[in-house]
Symmetry: D2
Subunit: 307 residues, 4 copies
């Protein structure tokens, strides 16, 4: 991690920022280590040769689960060619149902490592219990803490101590304050490389899989120095809406996206209904390009203003 | 209202649109009149010389309440100069507390009419009960149905019959389906000129005033032919976040924004904490410009593809 | 209405009541007229010869909608024989769907009046808009404000001015504070005879129709002098659970229940799935009897303690 | 565990139970092992000499955290004398804030064991990670899985394999179906001794700490053969309401309560605001007595009817 005192956010113009930020500082006083301060405006997390939270907008893409060597390798090559920098894929899966697929474990980690070797993509994958941390940390470049684990404090501490960057997904019923608390616990355990991820919350309206709390991204970028990414796939659960939600995530000022992509979503072992196929991913990336460029221009302007 | 068979949305690329749209059609079968069909892809609502739902992105701006002649006229002139096309302002106010300001009534409507005469802005203002519909319809160009009234069916019918365009705000407790039902009731009562408005819903997280359900905008643009606008002011309740939420609203594919602006928010009689001052509004409009341009380009491309 | 300074609630023992109540008084300071005070501990609302909020536990029963003369009269006689004191039934119905039954209007009111004439039951029925208040007040003994109307302030004022007792149903997404605000508005408009009704709220869990917020009943009885009743039918939406929720409502310290009963629920025009048939209502009343007796004993003991 | 084919619930009369139960069976088909069937109507969990889910209504009481020897021993003796059968107390605590007390660990477990030796109370205490299972299982009679861990599947499996009875607290974000899934996973891992616990869910209304979903208790008793207990302390978070919520829990048909009791709540290290002092606990137990007796009578009647 390296520090940057200039804020790389899209939130322009800054309105009464000093006064307001003071209030949020008070509101979230328990988690002051992850809030912006005069000393730290933005954390940049490094993974392999990547910088997350810096000027580049980072695309993480890949299947929900690592299924087969062919599946993960073909996906890795395709998303790499079309702009992704990080490969996602689950080797250890939470069981949203007692009978659902629980992942290949070590074999899945090895396939991810092979994909990295072939493509140069960094690998992010979920770790579900503290005993698995050493193993997952051996293979992954970024450890993902899943939504259901956001308040598994034992796991947070174990993951923190691995010294790997942590992708911390917001719990589906966690407030912004709860998310910051979990981030604070990781930081207190000596690991400043935390990436926050908004992936939708549970509300009374079940029309879509979750309610994408995109204002939380804008708020987090306003008050916290940690990088924030958006997960449009889990946020809506319907792949025809994923590109729109990805564009919304860019506009919210996030530092990147994590998107589910599968060679053949109809046959995916999990989350097929929210996974893009290759053609759709390519189309989405083309559509996003000018929006990402616009974000970059605003970020540069913000840096100039501050600098 | 005039029809357009080409979809003016940002949701590109269209992914399996035929198959998916059929499912939503079934899911929302009770409200088929407001869903897209082979005959109707987009409704364009006309108010004065404006087209809402067409190629222009429409900014509605003004204070929460009409307070004084000077307040409403100065605001109207300022927002007009900086790109707004519609003036908002409450003459009849819901009482979110028993002691809060309830509006100037007729005197407020007359001030709004004067502002229109001076600036050419169309006027949108809330009507709260069926007996007031004729009076409000005499002064307003667009009748607003507030969040608390979204399921006041008597009012919906009375407003529908006024033949004025209706700005229908989503209830803070209403699902997307509930919103479509209320729109359907207006259409069934002979008024096709309905503009939907997402303004935030109630969830477990009260960090911000509401949870901005921006995916609902993307979904509504995907399935309904009605114009959809975003209200970033009520969605977050904190003015330093309003520009970010406005930019998110543009990215969601909405047809416009409704934003609270006040000459002196610190002294506003209501909603001051979420109102922009003139300087902030000007800054927001400048920041939004390239995003709106990008939306326009995508819309044109979509029209060409279809046409 | 008559006042009683002794609290008739089940909440025994009173724990630190003075200190705690002071906090709630502050929390709900805007609605102080409906909170307990040294002067008023309990409001008793009178309707015909009934006292709601007094020592008797009041059962309100009847169909969702008034359908036919035979339906409403047979129901009235049956529920009267088995302990009900108030007949419920909708003559004006909110349209939860654009195509659902909207009620018989005046003809329905007349059938309710006939049922009252034959049975002596008081009549409670919903009024949905301010223009209907005089008509409904002519026929009903208690005006019901429905969940969707809880924040229809124009209607609240019109209903208040009718001088009839008001049954105020909590909105499905209204906080306890919102409910008290609406009650306060009625009281401020000169009508102290307000009966609060908890009927379930909207949450992320849609397993049942609503989430029965029974702790809100306990809280309301703790802090407010207004009578509170429970609606187990809407709270769960499944008739096999209605008796359990009714028993829970008694245990919560409520002053009565409002329950949907229909001669033939399978053929009901609305809400059949949550209506009890006659046999089930009779069984429920027998099951509730000792629970109601227990409540009565506790109430008497509380009165003695205070008196 | 021993089986009982007669249902010991308060839900009388049984309304269309066969038809309805069939629907729920389908709705919750993934978790059929924990649903009632012709073979199993009620699971009775044994811990020391106790039966949970049998005819006795079980009170579990004690402090949030084990603080000192004097604190836990004096509480154990007092609650034992006034009707409790199980002692609760946390030795390992989840960190609801980064700076809150995390428990004494092994020293706390030893104090709980000493309290059991002196009083004969069974001990229930939380286990927070799989590595702690053997240690906690050595000292506790019942392992508690906390709300934040309800979907920690690794922990569920490890706890299941300990062969100790499991008290499974519903997550504040979990639906009834989610709770049953977690129970199913424990049962599938060879441990049929699961006790479900409703402790309040997160909703839009934060007036109280949580929303007590008591209808979920009634539903769970209707569809599942597992014992269900209520936690009125966490459900409301305010000790003056705990006795009312306890009474509501009895009325819901639960098999027992778990209540926070502390010698001096004002000085408790955690959860003081929702803990009863000794005097209050004694008063609550006296108040509950006739309600528990009534439940017992209904249970016997149900057994006779079936038998």
């Amino acid at each position: 991690m390296r520090e940057r005192t200039a804020g790389g956010t899209l939130t322009l113009p800054r309105i009464g920022a000093q006064r307001v930020r003071a209030n949020w500082q008070e509101h979230f006083a328990e988690t002051s280590d992850v809030l912006k301060s005069s000393k730290r405006q933005q954390t940049v997390v490094q993974a392999l040769d990547l910088e997350i939270g810096g000027s580049e907008f980072i695309i993480m893409a890949g299947p929900c689960s690592v299924e087969t060597e062919h599946q993960i390798l073909s996906t890795a090559h395709f998303v790499r060619e079309h702009g992704a920098r990080v490969l996602r894929g689950g080797a250890f899966k939470p069981r949203s149902s007692p009978y659902s697929f629980q992942g290949h474990g070590l074999a899945g980690l090895k396939m991810l490592a092979q994909a990295r070797a072939e493509t140069g993509l960094a690998v992010v994958t979920e770790v579900m219990c503290e005993d698995d941390v050493p193993l997952v940390a051996e293979y992954a470049d970024i450890l993902q803490i899943g939504s259901r684990s956001m308040e598994n404090f034992t796991l947070l501490e174990a993951a923190a101590k691995s010294s790997k960057p942590i992708l911390l997904k917001r719990g589906m019923m966690a407030t912004v304050g709860d998310l910051l608390k979990s981030a604070q616990i990781i930081v207190e355990n000596g690991n400043p490389n935390v990436i926050l991820c908004e992936r939708g919350i549970r509300t009374f309206d079940a029309t879509l899989r979750n309610t994408f709390d995109v204002a939380a991204i804008a708020l987090l970028k306003h008050i916290s120095h940690l990088p924030v990414i958006a997960d449009p796939s889990h946020a809506c659960g319907h792949r025809e809406l994923v590109p729109s939600l990805a564009r919304i995530g860019v506009a919210a000022g996030s530092d990147g996206l994590i998107v589910e992509v599968h060679p053949n979503p109809e046959k995916a072992w999990s989350d097929g209904e929210q996974s893009l196929n290759f053609h759709e991913f390519e189309g989405m990336m083309a559509m996003l390009e000018p929006h990402i460029a616009l974000r970059g221009a605003a970020t540069c302007k913000a840096l100039e203003t501050v600098g």
